[in-house]
Point group: C3
Chain length 502, copies 3
């Protein structure tokens, strides 16, 4: 009976909404511009999920006709498509405009109140208006974040070793495979899960039971999420629903969801740096919403987006850097050591890499880069020049060059420190103190992993931003790099002692 | 002589103030509304402690007549009493209105410039205008924070072991009891100290010597502080003096004073989460002062208070959640493992709990909950539904249900990991490698404590907010949970080796 | 050819600018007040480094004639000189006014577009208008930050041990000296590098090649930087170029560039404290730019600068504390243990200290202070009273006194804990388990260093601000202080076992 009343209510609500939008209070929707379908959505959802309706109302999408957006001057454009289907031209970008696209490829499509709705909006849908950004993103490592981690046997093994359960049985610690739930909220929280539709599911709502697609590993906004339409990525990783704000994406808190200590301490280093200090002290006086983004006028110190992504111009509107959604495209070196820091890979898909040892790693254990898969010197120089060009809007050429020369030295030193640790581990393997069947699961191996994954990485990030001297010294840097190396040596001696006794 | 002049000055100051308030500049106090007593307080204190006088001037208390506050519509009310003594009706809430209440029970009462003043204002005093909040708080675990820690022999033993001094004598490390000063600024900094009045004390001031109550373990604003009037709690833990602001309490920095890594990393996880990112990026555009607090209009992502405490309504003024000052009342599970995560206790007083082993722990060492003292399944479901109801203002039912199903899985996994560590420790005890007289003071025991108190807790907090994947992976989560378990096993082997040799 | 065109362009640009400033758009410079030289600078630099030009435009320097600044009432003055050379009187403080001073002593001076320009502006240059601040700073430990670290053989040895490379050879870990690059971005990132001019260097710019001074260890803004004019310090450590803002220096993010965990966790403790909570919740409603800074009116909780540096007055303009740029001048005790906490040194130059053991340490290994080099009791009391006077603007005398009594107790306890660890290490040395030739390079010594440098320091900082109880308990405090002491003892036992076997 309860269920029956629910269904009736739903029908009435839906009917009223789609007929005349009468359920939508005038003060919560912009005058004109709403498609009838979106008006119907809001008719119910302003009551059932008001949070997202109101959030969308703060967005540019809720106030912008795509045809108007397309008329803007090139530097001011936020839309990159040249022509749009008629159905999207006359309305602001509402619920239905995004949730109804490319339904054929969407395994998460379902019938909802008479409409054909996708649960998940994907980069392939956003591409309708933002094809340049979708295209750039599709070629980036971020887009391959799931595949690069889970499709690489070596990294997959690290993932399983780190996040898998253990049980204690017969005097042994036995490893289990990690559960989907744990993968979901650890590694794949950032890298993205594989979301698949497995039929429909009946769920209770305020209005009675409804049927919705049953999605695996959902909800998730990891940047390399594999979507039910086969596409990869989640624009919402950086532009959270339903405001899709450029302001949020330009503020460093967005990047700080994932680029964090101990392995990728970009945020930690930034927040301790001079740039981070100026940002924190002054950002409320800056403009994070303007396109293009004007150095000196809109801001006086960079956030992450300034150097890595945004369309940045000088006050006289000269382009300093073009907008890019290929997040590595201004980078020549990959600080994140695997296991050594190395030139950026050519392809966003890093599973194709094979080093001289035949392993899917960009560098061999001995330190030799898999050069065929990495960008060459001219490309590295080109990118270094592009990044330096941003720096030079505030810093002299000498300053900028000296800064990056220091980074080069640090990359070299930390790579050598990794080599020392690798030699120690090889010695332990050679002496049968531990075995190399899984290079991540024993104590000496865990210490070795800390060397490159935590300490060397931290030092390099601190060097790259010339900030965080304390971080590079005591917090997660040289102090640990050196004491941990000593621990490795101690450990080998102890284990040898024990082994010999047996 | 110096003292004599001081006394004279005090008398003059006091006299002038109480006669006509002539010492209070017109521009620093609101026109009308001040009681003569409060006017006298301010007469001196705007000179001697201007910081708190001006802070109070920014408060609602300094501008509000309680009788007016009582007339507001139910959802807009910030005062919960139905009738007030006449003496409090006609004046704004000033110094004297709060510091002169219930003097009979206040052992910290003293004669000050002719008035009878309490040093400490307690929940029992605030109750005069806010009885509903005081009542809710009194039943909560927060109100028992001192007793639950110091009155539970097992936890008390943990406290003493962690914070007690050590000395090195005769080749032995000998433990001492922690000092009051150290307890005060460690555990009891959050849990609250026991503040007792032990007579009067003469102290020098700018105006000469004055006599004030000599209070032990003061100053302190711990949430479970035991007050000189016998009451428990400090409203100032979250509403700092003398602004008593709802804005401050709703911002997450307030909770972050105590709910911190490594044991209770609520703030750390929040700040790395999607909600935390949106908060940090947008909060300056939100309204933290409105009552009721309107989802979508006043804010677009939750802070701690949104989910745990505040009166939250939808834009059409439908109540989503009632205000509560019983901070666990919307929670079904207690993530904070003791030593396993378990259903919330029925009573805020957890010293009454006895598990099947007879220990004052909500779960046995083997993992069996003390069910009689914990809320039952229907109550758990009711609370889960209430919390989900808040989520569903922005997220679909499927989304919300999947989120909490994931949390269930994580609670189960981390509890099993704790069980593995407990088995290892039991083995060490069984083999006489260490002894269980104090389960916290030897190395294997410290590693075991880290497993549940730091790593399992961290993973559960990260899961509960689906944020901070990095935190749950490498920072304080699975990486440590697994490597530390390995360390426990290594440790047992080494100690055995040493023991056997002797 | 390319180079030739560049030179021509430069000349034209420079000529036009110096003749009529015609290249400077009217809307980017204030009407009048610019010196012809500064106008020439901006003529090119608004195009080539617009970031710093626009940043300077937000500054007080760009809008203020020094002669007008000198006329202000004493409490409102930001300039401390009594008379100025004529050349500086009639213009705002622009590029040339700062970069052209004291050229004779500047080894980094070079001919640039017809002008004689210093690359680095030093405290000795800022002294032209701010002699009182420069003088105070020159006597402070901050000004000696480079010398105190690198000129003290013991500390220098710590630096080298912590940041030096290691290589693994012939089964041994061999230490190397740290590189300049690594020193630069670790210890000397905060302490300051030694910047020296070593001739000229040709660098490519947008306008062709130019010759600039070749500076070593540059760029750097460490607070004790040794400058090419022989002076010490970098005002830009706290007042970042080219806004030179008092607002930035007063916000705690500035101090947080260096005063960070694990060794000097001032920021970490502050941000978890009640003061830090109020700051974070309310600072946007405060005024960080006013001089003098009025307690209660401009702010309602202190930032670092309030207690340590700023000219602070009460609302009736009574001076609570005078401005100081000698950062230790309000401090009686040095929390930062070397190796024990001790009274502040008399001189900013701590390399002159010799303790009874003849070591350049303020305390002996056994805990006896080098009293002759440290401030005496009356001076300590005087400074305690000055600091307490700031506290008492918001807190009672009893509150304040109790707070600092607690700190005294904690200093005593943590010093005793350091003594216990020192005894353990001495035992290890005595038993030849490790050797004391370098007191920082072996495992027992690293554990010992952690005791005072990380854990005792953390507890004392937490105590001094009565904040961060969690920090002092589990994060970096008593938990570690006690478990690490246990590790030291375990370590000695293991090593003994191994040694005996051999």
């Amino acid at each position: 009976m309860k269920r029956f009343i629910g269904v009736i209510l739903l029908l009435v609500c839906c009917l009223l909404s789609s007929v005349n939008g009468g359920l939508v209070p005038k003060d919560i929707v912009p005058q004109g511009g709403l498609s009838p379908q979106t008006e119907a959505c809001i008719g119910c959802h302003h009551i059932y999920t008001p949070g997202i309706v109101y959030d969308w109302m703060t967005s540019r999408h809720s106030k912008t006709l795509p045809v108007e957006a397309m008329k803007k001057a090139p530097l001011e454009k936020r839309i990159s498509v040249d022509s749009l289907p008629k159905s999207l031209q006359g309305y602001v970008v509402g619920c239905y405009e995004c949730h109804s696209l490319n339904t054929d490829s969407h395994k998460d499509n379902f019938k909802h109140m008479g409409y054909s709705i996708n649960v998940v909006v994907t980069p392939n849908d956003c591409k309708t208006c933002h094809p340049v950004e979708a295209q750039q993103f599709a070629g980036s490592k971020k887009s391959y974040a799931y595949k690069n981690l889970m499709g690489n046997p070596l990294y997959h093994s690290l993932v399983s070793t780190v996040t898998g359960m253990r049980r204690f049985e017969k005097n042994q610690i036995l490893a289990e495979k990690p559960s989907d739930a744990t993968l979901h909220e650890t590694c794949l929280g950032c890298h993205g899960t594989k979301v698949e539709a497995q039929g429909l599911k009946t769920i209770p709502t305020k209005l009675g039971e409804v049927q919705v697609p049953d999605l695996t590993n959902w909800p998730n906004q990891g940047v390399g999420r594999v979507n039910p339409d086969g596409s990869a990525g989640a624009c919402t990783a950086c532009h959270p629903r339903h405001g899709f704000s450029i302001e949020v994406a330009r503020k460093p808190y967005t990047c700080s969801q994932c680029h964090l200590e101990p392995d990728v301490p970009a945020w930690n280093v930034y927040s301790e740096s001079k740039h981070g200090n100026i940002y924190s002290s002054k950002y409320q006086q800056w403009n994070f919403d303007s396109v293009p983004w004007v150095i000196g006028k809109d801001f006086s110190a960079p956030s992450c987006a300034t150097c890595h992504n945004s369309l940045v111009v000088s006050p006289d509107n000269a382009v300093v850097a073009e907008r890019t959604h290929d997040f590595g495209s201004r980078l020549w070196v990959r600080l994140f050591g695997l296991i050594y820091s190395h030139p950026q890979p050519k392809s966003g898909d890093t599973t194709i890499i094979r080093n001289r040892d035949g392993l899917p790693l960009p560098v061999t254990f001995a330190g030799e880069p898999a050069s065929g898969f990495l960008i060459d010197r001219p490309e590295q120089d080109k990118r270094l020049q592009e990044m330096s060009g941003i720096c030079r809007n505030c810093h002299s050429s000498h300053w900028t060059a000296s800064h990056f020369a220091k980074l080069d030295s640090t990359i070299n030193e930390t790579n050598r420190m990794t080599a020392a640790a690798t030699n120690l581990m090889a010695k332990a393997w050679g002496e049968k103190i531990e075995d190399n069947s899984n290079p991540f699961d024993e104590s000496i191996e865990q210490m070795w992993s800390s060397q490159w994954l935590f300490y060397s990485n931290s030092i390099r990030y601190a060097s790259a931003m010339t900030g965080a001297p304390d971080y590079a010294s005591f917090k997660n840097g040289w102090w640990h790099l050196n004491t941990n190396l000593q621990h490795m040596k101690n450990w080998i001696e102890f284990k040898k002692e024990l082994t010999e006794k047996d």
